[in-house]
Each structure stands twice: as C-alpha cells, then as structure tokens.
C-alpha cells in the first residue's frame, strides 16, 4: 500500500465497549490459527486467542507498540479470507475487516500482504490505544 492510499483510510472512533470487546480473551472455539515459518523448526501452528496476540504473532511486536517499532523478521502465514472473517465475526471489528480485505486485493505474496495490512492495523491499534489511555487517565489516582 502506498502512503497516499494509507492516508485515505479512516476508521470511525471506537467506543470503550467496542475496544474492550475487540481485545477480549477468546475461547477455544473462537481461536484463529497462524502458521509461523522458520528455518529452525519449520512450520508451527500458533493458535491465537486475542486480537493483541494476533498483532504480536502477525507482525512480531507487542500489540500496543506496533506503530513505532514495525514488524520483525519472520514469516507468519495466514489464510487471508479466514483472517478477514475472524476480524469481522469474532473480533467484531467490521471496519478493519473490510479495510484489510480491500487492501489485500492484488497483494499475492507475503511481503505485499504485510505491507498492505500493516498501516491499517497501526491506525486501528492507535485508536484502540487512545480509548484505553483516555480511560486510564480519567481513573482516580490511587490514594
């Protein structure tokens, strides 16, 4: 994705309830599978049990620091159709799901897919973070 197209992406500001639902811990039947590919051990299936864990596995860094650090060097393969369905149906972020699906059109190899998805995840995670930080800031200080 180019910077120009990245700048065109805008998500509605999420509510606290929306964010809490999206980042909740999931059950076994709600999990999503990512395949990590590495020279040391070949392919390993990683069962993902939350949106933050997905970001970590997919891009290789802690979810709330995705924007400043970028991705680490590994191949984390996902079935992109399944990923979009999972974001839509389980995480409940239909806007992100739709944006990811649109971004992946024509992105037919791993690097292109990461490049397409990363700005979208960065923007959405930043919005989630803002909501959570606002709540934390508003909380009364401990006595």
């Amino acid at each position: 994705m180019t910077e120009a197209s990245e700048a065109q992406v805008r998500f509605d500001a999420p509510s606290l309830e929306f964010v809490q639902h999206a980042i909740r811990e999931l059950g076994f039947e709600e999990r999503f599978t990512v395949t990590k590919m590495s020279g040391g051990i070949g392919n390993t299936r990683v069962e993902v049990y939350s949106f933050p864990q997905l970001v970590n596995v997919l891009f290789g860094t802690k979810w709330d620091r995705l924007a400043p650090e970028g991705s680490k060097a590994t191949l984390a393969w996902v079935d992109t159709d399944s990923l979009c369905r999972w974001l839509h149906d389980v995480v409940g972020d239909t806007e992100l799901a739709d944006a990811v699906r649109a971004s992946l059109e024509g992105a037919d190899y791993f690097k292109a897919q990461v490049d397409a998805m990363l700005p979208l995840f960065r923007e959405r995670v930043a919005q989630y973070r803002t909501v959570l930080d606002d709540v934390a800031d508003a909380a009364p200080a401990a006595p």
């Binding site: 999990r31 070949g42 390993t44 970590n56 650090e69 680490k72 060097a73 079935d79 190899y109």
Partner: protein
Amino acid sequence: MAIGGYVGKILYVNLTDKSTKEIPTADYEEWGGGHGMGSALFWDLVPDKTIDGFDPDNLVTFMASPFSGTLVPSSSGRTEVQGIGVQQYPIAWFTRSNFGGRFSGQMKFAGWDGIAVQGKSETPVWINVVNDTVTIEDASGLWGLNTHETQEEIWALVAGDKSVSDWWEISSSRDGGRTTQKPAVVCIGPAGENLNRNACLIHDAGNGGGQGGFGGILGAKNLKAISFIGTGSVPIADPAGLADLRLEIQDRFGYNVDNPTLETPVPALSGMYGLINGSPGYGPIMWTAAGAGRPQGCMGCFKNCRINTESGLGNGDQCVEGLYWSASGELIDQLAAVTLLDQVGTNVYDMVDAHPYLLNLYKMGVLGPGKAIPSDLPWDRYDSPEFIEAFTLAVANRTDIGADLADGLTRAVIKWGRWEEDTTSGLLPRPQWGFPEHYDPRLEVEWSYGSLFGDRDINEHGINWLVHWMPTVTAAVGQAPLMPAEELATRIAEGTGVGDPKGWDYSAEGIYTDAKAKAVAWHRHYTRFWKQSIGMCDWAWPMLINFNAGDDYDGATPTYEPLLFKAVTGTDMTWEQSLELGRKIWNLDRAIWVLQGRTREMEVYTNYVYDKPTDVPYFLPAIENGEWGYSICLGRTLDREKFDDFKTRFYKLEGWDSTTGWPTRAGLSELGLSEVADALDGAGKLGADGA
C-alpha cells in the same frame, strides 16, 4: 593410516570404579571419527544393547573428528554425542546428539579424539582433563548449580581468576604449556540432575546437545560436567594445502559483507533471507529487527550464523531455541526465556510445542486448577514473562505439571490418555518416535522417511535449504525462484551422484518412487559420514548449490569434502568411498536398533500424517502435469499403502530383509560387518538373505 587429523587416543572413564584408560584411536580409525567411532565403541563396549538409557552400563561417547580444531570451514567445532537415549517413544533408541562451540577442538588440543563414559558414580563428580592429566573430581559443590554457574565455577577451579586475554600455565610441570583459553566444559543443569528425559547438555552460553535426553543420562551417572583444556595442536597432513582450501572456500562461497553477491531485497526479512544467502548472524531469525548484537560462530566457522546480543541474553542460541517463547512481544523477554532454559538445561525441542499445546488444553477446559490435567501455573497470563519462567522451572524441577512433562511431552500426553486423539486430529503434530514435527512429513519426505527409518528427527537441512526454503523465501518477498525447479533437481542429482532428478520430485507420486528411495538413502549415507562422523556443520554442508557463488551458483559439494579430508588426514578418499562408509555406519546403527526391538510394523507415522491434508503453502520442486515447477503442495496426505510399498523397496535398496526391515548377513558382510551379522543371528533377528 592417516598422518593427520587424529591426535592418537580416546579417553575411557568408568565412573563406577573411577578407572580410566586410553584407547588407541587407530583401533577405530576405519570409522572416520565422530559418529562412526562412537557407534563402533558402543558396539564393542556394551554387550547388552537392550539396556535402558539410565542403566549404568550405558556408554555415552563425546567424539571429535579429524576436522575438529582445524581450519576446515564450518567443520571444526562440532561434538557428536551417542548412547542409548531416554527420550524417544515407544523405545528410546540408541541415538545421537550434537553440539557446536569449541569443546571438540579443545579436547583435541588436550590430546584426545573423544571421551567414552560408562558406569555410575555413587556421588556427584566432574571429569577434569588438562592435557594428559585426567582426574575425577568431587562435584558436590556444583550439584544444584545451573549450567552457566557450573561452567564459571569450573573455569575458576581450573584456570583461577584470569581475565579473558591473560596467558596462564595450565600445569606446574615443565613444558606444560600456556594458553589464553578457558576450559571447554559441557555440563548439565537441574533438569539433568532430576533425571528428566528432556534434559540436555550445555556448553558455553547456548551450545546445546538436546535430542536423546543425554542431560538426564549424565544425571543418572552422577556426572555434572566434563572439562577439557589443552595446549597441544592437531597434526595436519598438508597445512599449506588446507589453508589454501579454506581461503578458496571462503572466497568462493562465503557471504561477502562488503560486496554481497545476493542481498536480501527486504532488510526487515534479512533473517529469513539468510536461509538462502547465509549472511552472518542470520540464525536467530526472530531477533533481527530489534536489539543490538553481532555475529558469532563456533570454532573455525566462516559463516557465523549466531548473534551475541547487547543484553548478554540468548548468546549462542542459534536455532529452534530462539523460538522457545515469544508471547509477550518483547524481545528481551524472549531472550530471557531461552537463557533460563539453557541454564536449567532443558531441551527446547521437546518444549517448544509443549506450552502452546498445553495452552490449547487450558482453553478447552481440560487443563488448569481442578481440571482433568491439574496445573496451578498462571495459564491465564500465558503471554507474561512470569508464566514462561514458572513453566520452565516447573519442568526442570518436576513440580506442578512439570512432574509429568519432565518425562517428555509425549509420555505425558500418553499418560493423560490424549495421544491417539491429539495426534490424529493434528492438535499435537508429532509424527514419529514422539518427536515434534519439524518439516512436513507428508511432503518433504527425505526428512520424514530418514527420521522414521532412523532413531530421531534427523535435523539435517542441507537439502531443505535448497528445495524448500529457496522457493519459499523468494515467494514470500515477491521474487522469482533463484533457479528453475528442474535445474535445481538436476544439479542436486548430479552433485550427490544419485543421477536421477526425480529423486527430488516432491509431487504426490514423486514421493514414492525408486528415485526417491535412492535420494533418501544418499541422504542417510552422506550425513552419517560427512556431518556426523567428520563433523561438518549442518548449516553449511552439503553445499550442493550456493547462491553466493556468482552467476553459476556452483556449490562446494562434492568437490571439496574429499579435498579437505585429504589435506587434513593425508588419506585419499573418493566420494563413493565416503558414501559407502556412511552406509556402513548407518547399517551398524540399524543393527543396534534391531537388537533393541525395531520391527517393520513400528515404522509408521501417527495418524494425522495419513489423514489430515496439508492446508498451508509449502513450496517444493515437483513434476505436475508433466512439467517441473515449484508446487504449493496443498491438500496432500501420505498414502498408507503407497508408503508401505515404498518401505518394502527402500529396505531392499539398503540390503535389508524387506519383510522385517532387518539387515541381512549378505548385506552386512559386504560392508565388513560379519560379526554384527553373527550378533543379530544369535538374537534371532538376522534378516533373511534375498527376502
């Protein structure tokens, strides 16, 4: 007889009566070194091959090779470890492990080509070798220390308080010699002391001998550590020739950091791309995007695949151990986790798939406080450093769920009654002998067939870099493959000497052909000799194609192995002779497994390999619709009947009885192993000639 490479004697230590003796290396020189010598020593010194791995009579060998401690590139630092294991299931086979670093080199500088340890001490001991002087020392002060603490204590005991560059006299005798080196120590941690079946050996920061459970085996012998320091050198038949060969190989095939031939097109993926261009420091593939460090390698290496990190954590951890746990997303947590694993001395390969599998059981409601599989570990904080620390310590110390896991994940899952279900569904992909899946057993079959016909996950990447990683990594970054599939298969076929490119056809039919059987057999014979007996590193050899080597991509194999052998030993050995010696060693191992109880019926995979189709892209060269290409290999399973037929033909190719898989008298005699045939005959396990 060789005029170089060997230093003349092998150290035998009996821990029961504390006796030692020298075995002339010349008695075993016909086996090359390393694994070949270790198997032959085991055959000669362990009359009953059916004993348990924890039995005091089990012999554990730590063998160098003629290349150890020399200039041979990426071949100087490996140590081969053998003995009856305690890890595999259902039978813990006579097996092998191998670790890098500087242990075998230092062993040879002290004047020894290997050490064989038998018996059991009544109290904890460590073996201290300073040149020719061998002492068995009290280890009561070391027992309970972790692997790093143990080595630091031994360095202080042997070398005193010396800083890194200080010269010191290693003995009080005249001409005892001086060195700047610290002793090379291999040791066990708490996991080994607790007789864990997944306990490993650790040397220096992170060189691990993991497979087989040799940490627990040394624990059963009350042997905490072995230390070597020496001031001698290794005789070389043609020193100038060897130096020339090293420089030539480095120049032709090394990654030139100042002017690389093949650079990664995506800097953030330099770790993955290193699998095909071998850029220094590429090994720790999860760590390359964050955290400062510099490349580091084993003794004499010209590739230096590892990283010493700024934090000092994770040093020497080059391979799967770097992937132990990364759930927090913090690099420093990942490095701390693997460092703790090194310190307690647990084999990462038995644990790397354990905690994710157990997390699934927790999520399923099967595992946790008050559940069918009780555990009070903080599974609800799986992504926290506190979790992985608690988990790692529990396994090492046999507490909580670690009481079961210390016998290995496979035995634990069997105890819990989940093995059949979870290896059928693929929730726990462990295809053979209780080992985790490494490369896909339904597709990359010289790996899976070799593992099944052998004793463990083979962990041999020389073909894998070319057939799987080159097309996979280039596809991932949007490049065309660096070489067309037909040319790749043809050049491998020519380089190996097998001749038929269809040996490297991984199509749904190609994995059962006679050509494939020859390719699998070649792989077993090459690795048994050049890698495991001569110590050539798995991450460098065989070098059938090298993508750093200009436009022609020529590799060093098969030209350079015999040249290096000749330069070091002075002995002419043809490529064919080397493979035949590999076949001989492979057959001796096979005979030991047969005596332990190996049957044809046991050589099958768990159900998911046959029943669960592949669903992740996995690129391999294949002939599909009459054309060579790189297949994505989706929807594939291993066919039970076709594999069974393949097994029959593979047995015949190896000269084994096709109905039992047992070696025959004719086959063994042809290899000069008539006395092995006699032993099999005496046990009623000799295959029928011509069957």
